[in-house]
Subunit: 280 residues, 2 copies
């Protein structure tokens, strides 16, 4: 059973007038937790604060979120779990316009660790190209907002044969996976889709870029066509829960080389271990 | 005070696991009501059903929504009000993927008639061009989904000096108002932005197109630049609550001619009256 705090109070329900429900007017974070340790918590809360600034939602402060997280994790020693934080613009009067003084809604949900993650880490992902396009809007690009219909519809294209799907914008640029960021090795260099017009800039994506830089591998943000992706030497995806995982299959093609991927993964694992040793 | 039914039960709260909150995974309708009569109810429920089909959300049937509406309007004789219907994909397990058998959440909220509407009808709208872009996504275009962050952010650009703002896509095509559809009279012909890539196709927009056709005025869906809009002979906007309203000002320019607008408005008013005489 999920454990939920809403504005610091144990509760399962939000007001029907909440702008998160009415307009997707808010943000979220998904955080992997080992025991009582939420991974990369500083980075997650930083990103949420940046997102809140971009959406002009009053940020309640990192300390309150930290308290919520500590409370829902307090009996988690020894087990892995996932925390979802949601911040909405709260509930106000009817209509799109908002009152900047309206208090936001802060939600913290702890869920069990998803069973598939172990399988994916061992087997790699089988992916396809989705028909559902990624929405193009530079004002919302990169933000982990609650407007996620594109991800929902794309994920429904996967069926049983695929674990992940890649979304492209209307100009044919591959943007991201339904629940992950994408990396490709092309001509022995690492590239990842530019996210200035669409997509979500993941925390694990940032860690991977840092990892690569630390070991002297350059990663560039570029526009990638489906052909570029299909003809890559290696492909991998990332999110906060799966970490870094290889794509072993994209459409009909198998990917068996993971040379550069493994070098980056090894460095990333060190960063994850180092984070686990910091104070939660 | 708003009166709310959730799945037919008087309630003010939805589950924190509802996909409407988590992903904006749902639809809504805003319906003007005169006394116990919800205007263009057949068209609203038709649109919601079409939207549900496009989003693959099980539609609970028009009859259940009609029952909810009748219940929240039963003491409304003599007064005007606004009903908002929301349909979400319900609440399920974590993650974007959904179970098609999951029962949806059906919400019906009655609110008082907004005070500004009388003012706008008398004074006309003062509008500006917004910087917030309209999201480009043909898969979601036209649908009144709960992913409405673009409208929220654009509406915050209005301040006190403007009543409405016009959104453009990244290619500079004007798409819609923050809460309305746009019509322009150019070379004595009526045009309205093409909504195949972005925007919401309003019920009142449809009624205006029908009204124009009935009196022999052609309306075309076109791509409109800001210059096209700025140099129009007449401008008007529509939504289900304001009906049809003239733009009396756009940025620095005043619009004083409303000749063709008035011919269409007169026909539209007859349609609204005719609808009011049908069974609710």
């Amino acid at each position: 059973m999920a454990e939920v705090l809403i504005n610091g109070i144990s509760a399962d329900y939000v007001s029907v007038a909440d702008r998160g429900l009415n307009y997707g007017d808010g943000l979220f974070e998904t955080i992997a937790c080992s025991g009582t340790h939420p991974h990369f918590i500083r980075q997650h809360l930083q990103r949420m604060e940046r997102g809140a600034t971009r959406l002009d939602i009053p940020f309640p402060g990192r300390e309150l979120f930290r308290q919520d997280i500590d409370r829902v994790l307090k009996n988690s020693a020894g087990s892995k779990s996932v925390i979802k934080l949601i911040l909405t613009r709260g509930h106000g009067k009817r209509g799109y316009r908002y009152d900047t003084k309206q208090p936001p809604t802060r939600i913290c949900v702890r869920s069990p660790w998803p069973a598939q993650v172990v399988h994916w880490a061992q087997q790699g992902f089988r992916a396809r190209f989705c028909q559902t396009p990624a929405s193009v809007n530079p004002r919302l690009a990169g933000i982990k907002s609650l407007n996620r219909l594109e991800n929902v519809l794309a994920s429904n294209e996967l069926g049983d044969r695929f674990d992940e799907g890649l979304l492209s914008d209307i100009d044919g640029n591959v943007v991201e996976g339904t629940m992950s960021n994408l990396f490709a090795v092309i001509d022995d260099a690492v590239v990842t889709p530019d996210l200035s017009r669409c997509g979500i800039a993941g925390i694990m994506r940032e860690q991977i870029i840092d990892s690569a830089h630390e070991i002297g591998i350059r990663i560039e943000n570029v526009n990638l066509s489906r052909d570029d992706v299909m003809n890559s030497q290696e492909l991998f995806i990332s999110n906060s829960v799966i970490g870094l995982c290889v794509l072993k299959q994209l459409e009909q093609r198998s990917f068996n080389r993971h040379m550069i991927t493994e070098v980056i993964q090894s460095r990333l694992n060190k960063k994850i271990d180092a984070d686990a040793e910091t104070d939660a």
